[in-house]
């Protein structure tokens, strides 16, 4: 995982790769202000910049500081893309489950948005909010993840309904050993009570 300078100079998390169609759709929605579907980042496109026409490349480079691509990422790009997906289950506030396949290298925040799962992402994965909070339901999977950084912990401090196995969805990146992971969306509203608020019959 690494960061790069993204749109308008903001730091965004870089994920590894996606297929060409997805590159195009991300690219198009990024440049269309009226696009109704939220698209979080255009960074797929940056990493796959060899796939983009020269003009687009030029536009992107204006907005992004150069950064290097690691050898591992390159290996992934060149590998067999279809097979490199893991199965992820999201469990929503009501306990309903949704199974999705997530390409290796994609964050759970992006995966959720691509599959219409209601996970907020106020800062679009730039580690400046806690809205993509997810709870890893199985401690074994939680232990497979790298420890959260100080910056992620700073944000987790502020997450509603924090648990021992809470993480930010933008920081959980699909990797082979996470195949089968189950993530719960916290039922934050049920815990939301205002200071001094007393429940009373209505």
């Amino acid at each position: 995982m690494k960061s790069a300078t993204g749109v308008a100079g903001y730091r965004l998390k870089v994920t590894s790769f996606t297929i060409f169609d997805s590159v195009c759709s991300q690219y198009l929605t990024f440049f269309s202000p009226l696009a109704s579907t939220p698209r979080r980042t255009c960074l797929h496109a940056v990493q796959n910049r060899f796939l983009l026409p020269q003009v687009a490349l030029h536009l992107f480079l204006q907005r992004h500081e150069p950064f290097s691509t690691t050898a591992a990422d390159k290996a992934q790009l060149e590998g067999n893309e279809e097979t490199k997906k893991i199965s992820v289950t999201f469990v929503d506030k009501d306990g309903d489950e949704k199974h999705i396949n997530v390409p290796i290298g994609m964050s759970m925040l992006e995966a959720a948005h691509e599959n219409d799962i209601e996970l907020e992402g106020a800062c679009e994965g730039s580690l400046a909010c806690s809205t993509c909070h997810v709870i890893v339901m199985d401690i074994e999977y939680y232990n497979k993840l790298e420890d959260p950084t100080d910056e992620e912990n700073d944000m987790l401090d502020l997450a509603f309904g924090l648990t021992e196995t809470s993480r930010l969805g933008c920081q959980v990146i699909a990797s082979p050993e996470l195949d089968g992971i189950r993530l719960a969306l916290p039922a934050a509203t049920r815990n939301f009570a205002v200071d001094g608020y007393k429940p009373k019959p209505h």
Binding site: G9, Y10, R11, C123, D150, D157
Partner: protein, 485 residues
């Protein structure tokens, strides 16, 4: 029960009539307002949501509160922009509740009115000398450096003294300390207002005291902001090691609170790292714990100007709330010389005419977002079709995301009331058309979202000339002029 079912059936059949939209007005376009609008649009396909704001610019404190060096926090405006661009949503900037139109007029025109206009005033200390020049509220100072049009002429005097005292140790206090102490070359790359950047470039403030009534265990800031201020380049940080000693009551507080544990850890590390004395000319940040302001001291040379603060030493006592300690004075005093005081002791909401208001708590009395006629729970009645969200509902605390849950609660109450028919008239209401007509008749020039986008483009363009993400327009005339282009 039968009646309940009947009304439910009635309201269902009403809400299924898409030809009769549900007219919703949200007052205030900060996070609370936009999250409310987003959730209303999503929950009610028949809803038509108008967002009014007294400023020509949307986004409330995301624009005028979030520090300029926190651009990531402002990314949420992308999401709010998509809400504003929804075909069932409309923005009316430059429309002020209480002067452009009254609350009762608004309630007549809309089925649902949600007040989310925040807290635009300040708590006061009520101590001697508070009116002296050189003493400002944190809100005004933050509005100044963020280019809020109401504070663009504030011009705080940063050149007459080398010391500033900030009263309070929350995130706003830390933001201000950071803005005062950070190298201006770093701030120059942010969207800080140009008048503030020039003011700070000429600033002679070298030393900042951050004063808290209680100790390091109770500090109200969060880890990110503390880490940032401690990490300022070439800054001498002073924390008295004795202040870090904890009592059993402190330990109890730490045990139950992850943020406080991590804050205490960061402060403890900072107290033992670094040099014991500042080098000549080095900027200094001093954490002053267990002190409360007693009075402000006027200057002998500059009449009417502040020259210092008298602080009283405090000790912590168990309060009526278990697990919470309060600061009590000890009768020992200490004077701190300074030429600038910033009071970061809390914001305060301001009521409008016809709105029930709890003056003691500084919020609108409400039950899960439903406005109640008075603060006394026994006598209170629900104000039909009137709701609150954000700081006006729960007081000036929390982060942007707090408003997400706050809005969810208010919208759930609205939905419940629509479902039961409890709180909304089934009569057709004029909504947007009525609002437009009323504003026209009063010569109020509302600023639509498309006009804000002109301001946005202009600001970004001006910013690009100076390698800033944007150069904010900070004067009313200028904002309205660009909006009208």
């Amino acid at each position: 029960m039968a009646i309940y079912k009947a009304t439910k059936l009635l309201s269902r059949s009403f809400s299924s009539l898409s030809s009769r939209p549900l007219r919703v007005c949200v007052v205030g376009s900060g996070p609370a307002g936009f999250y409310t609008a987003e959730k209303m649009l999503k929950a009610h396909e028949e809803a038509e949501v108008d967002i009014v704001d007294r400023l020509p610019t949307p986004f409330g404190l995301v624009r005028s509160g979030v520090a300029p060096d926190h651009p990531e926090t402002k990314i949420v405006t992308n999401q709010f922009t998509r809400v504003a661009q929804n075909e069932r949503c409309s923005f009316f900037g430059n429309v002020s509740l209480g002067s452009s139109l009254s609350l009762s007029e608004l309630r007549d025109m809309y089925h649902v009115v949600v007040l989310a206009y925040g807290a635009e005033s300040d708590r006061v200390l009520g101590i001697s000398g508070e009116e002296l020049a050189g003493i400002h509220s944190a809100r005004e100072f933050v509005w100044w450096y963020n280019g809020h049009p109401d504070c663009s002429n504030m011009a705080p005097d940063l050149k007459s003294a080398d010391t500033a005292v900030i009263l309070g140790q929350g995130n706003v206090a830390l933001d201000i300390a950071r803005v005062l102490l950070r190298p201006t070359a770093e701030l120059a790359k942010t969207d800080i207002a140009s008048h503030a950047l020039s003011g700070l470039e000429e600033s002679s403030i070298r030393k900042v005291y951050l004063v808290g009534r209680r100790g390091p265990v109770q500090a109200a800031c969060t880890a990110k902001e503390l880490r940032e201020v401690l990490g300022i380049k070439d800054l001498y940080v002073h924390i008295d090691k004795d202040d870090l000693r904890t009592t059993p009551a402190d330990e109890e507080e730490l045990k139950n609170n992850r943020i406080r544990r991590r804050i205490h850890e960061l402060l403890s590390k900072a107290a033992i790292s670094g040099t014991s004395h500042p080098s000549p000319g080095q900027r200094e940040l001093h954490f002053v714990f267990f002190r409360k302001p007693d009075k402000f001291i006027g200057s002998d040379e500059r009449s009417g100007h502040v020259a210092g603060v008298r602080l009283e030493k405090t000790i912590l006592k168990e309060s009526v709330h278990p697990g919470k300690q309060t600061a009590e004075g000890t009768g020992q005093y200490e004077d701190f010389e300074c030429g600038l005081v910033l009071k970061s002791i809390g914001y305060k909401s301001v009521p409008v005419e016809g709105l029930p208001f709890d003056l003691q708590k500084g919020v609108v009395p409400n039950y899960r977002g439903r406005v109640l006629s008075c603060a006394s729970e026994d006598l209170a009645q629900v104000e039909e079709g009137l709701y609150v969200c954000g700081w006006l509902k729960r007081g000036p605390t929390g982060i942007i995301a707090t408003n997400l849950y706050c809005a969810e609660e208010t919208v759930a109450s609205i939905s419940e009331d629509l479902e039961t028919g409890a709180s909304t008239s089934t009569l057709a209401k004029p909504g947007r058309e009525g609002l437009k007509q009323l504003l026209d008749s009063r010569n109020v020039r509302a600023v639509p979202f498309s006009a804000w986008e002109k301001i946005d483009t202009e600001e970004k363009q001006r910013g690009s000339l100076r390698s800033k993400p944007r150069e904010k327009l900070t004067r009313w005339e200028e904002l309205l002029e660009v909006a009208a282009k």
